[in-house]
Amino acid sequence: MNDVVLSVKELAFAYPDGHQALYGVDVALTRGERVALLGPNGAGKTTLVMHLNGILQAGHGEVVVAGLKVDANKETLKEIRRRVGIVFQDPDDQLFMPTVFEDVAFGPKNLGLTDSEIESLVQKALTEVGMLEFKDRAPHHLSFGQRRRVALATVLVMQPEILILDEPSSNLDPASRRELSEILQKLDITLLMVTHDLPYALELCERSVILSGGIIAADGKTLNVLTDDALMKKHRLELPFGFDPRHAAQSMK
């Protein structure tokens, strides 16, 4: 059995208005891998992510998730959406139920599980993100960082094969950012993280992929990508002031 969880082949896509965002993307993720998807604004990152659970349909090429081809077939689409868990950038888009518990339970309920199964799954997911004590609170009474963690729990509870995070560290204060990284590090799951936060990519993902101009411009070890000055410059990627990836990688060991 090959261990490729996600495979994207020659994926090209143009929006209905004629604007083409992807020009042939090839990338594959194996089980348990953590990959950062980097790239300047407008590189097509969001467009790519929207193909991974069938929100957008490939104009050319194909996307295969755990052996299932992403296409318009309604039955497989439902299964694909369970297997590909996306945590959106704005947690308010993801938390729509009156309480945290009900929100996390929403997915399992739709899978037709029994009440006790749902209870234990929700309990587990909320524990993983450290939000169990807030289970009876209303989402809009939580801080932004807490809401993002609950949003993560709503996706984890579906036991996805692959977890996709869209800008997980955006709008978080440094402490919440660190807490989230600790949670993510503990998860045993295939991870694809779209981010502009390069130190975060280095901390969490051994491998990085640069999407630029609608194609994969680089694919390699995160440290190697971040230290390739010419590559970085070419794709409008910049490290924060004073951040030395080599030094950071050293101190991580």
């Binding site: 704005d90 888009d93 929403f106 739709n110 899978l111 209303a138 809009h140 009474h141």
Partner: protein
């Protein structure tokens, strides 16, 4: 670093706005709070129906209804002053009711030198009395039942699931949308705009339009998030059964009905 004495600023907590949906609920421990939400909802609904059916000229009957509602208020241990303040939502009805005697047909009674329409006076009284009783009963329901329990109750009495879902999203997102509105207001004012007159309506209308588009787009994103978690068009709401003790709630409409029948005989 030296320690600085904290300067405290006293702020009167205002209730409108941000926590719409929850802010009406006042937490107390009372018989009324403990009742099953659906029994309360049904009781209020039936009570309002009885009130609306009462002929406008049955002045004493309305007095007894008022007594019934006030006793519920006492049993619920709700702060009377706070509840009284909330009655301002009724103001538009009051204005409408006050206009009836003035603009009603055939001015035929003199009150303090004003010639008023008797039919208008009676109709005005009817609207005022019925609206007041209805608003009071609903206010007590809202103050003794958290918003999500009311949603569950709506589902319990078999309101179509789609409507309960819409109400549920309203409770969840009204705060988000109000925040967005507030941010847009701050952005406008930071650039020197203040709405003073009709010449500024254009800007306000544009803001409203922008808010609508944003909310619509958010709706699409929420829908996607729901789909990716297996949403198939229906949502489950709590479904606790009614117990014997919950039937006490129906005393309110039953007593009201007895009063009505008694006054008509």
């Amino acid at each position: 670093m030296g320690t600085q004495t904290a300067i405290e600023v006293r702020v009167d907590v205002h209730e409108h706005g941000h926590k719409l949906g929850d802010h009406l609920y006042i937490h107390k421990h009372s018989r009324i709070h403990d009742l099953h939400p659906a029994s309360k909802l049904l009781a209020v609904l039936l009570f309002i129906i009885v009130v609306v059916l009462t002929p406008n000229t049955e002045y004493w009957t309305f007095g007894i209804y008022l007594g019934l509602v006030l006793s519920v208020l006492v049993i619920s241990k709700l702060p009377v002053k706070r509840m009284a303040k909330r009655m301002v939502v009724e103001v538009p009805f009051v204005i409408f009711a006050l206009m009836l005697p003035i603009f009603g047909r055939e001015p035929d009674v003199e009150v303090f030198g004003l010639s008023l329409s008797e039919a208008g006076l009676i109709a005005g009284f009817g609207i005022l009395a019925k609206a007041t009783l209805g608003v009071m009963a609903s206010m007590i329901l809202a103050a003794t039942t958290p918003a999500r329990d009311i949603l569950n109750a709506l589902a319990f009495i078999k309101l179509p699931n789609t409507l309960v879902q819409i109400a549920s999203f309203m409770v969840r997102y009204s705060a988000v949308v109000l925040d967005e509105l507030q941010r847009m207001k701050v952005a406008r004012e930071s650039r020197g705009f203040s709405a003073r007159g009709i010449q500024h309506w254009r800007v306000l209308a544009q803001s409203a339009g922008a808010l609508f588009i944003r909310s619509y787009e958010r709706g699409e994103r929420v829908h996607l998030a729901m789909l990716s978690r297996g949403y198939r068009g229906t949502m489950d709401f709590g479904n606790e059964r009614l117990e014997k003790k919950d039937y006490v709630a129906f005393l309110l409409p039953i007593l009201a009905l007895i009063t009505l029948i008694g006054s008509l005989l």
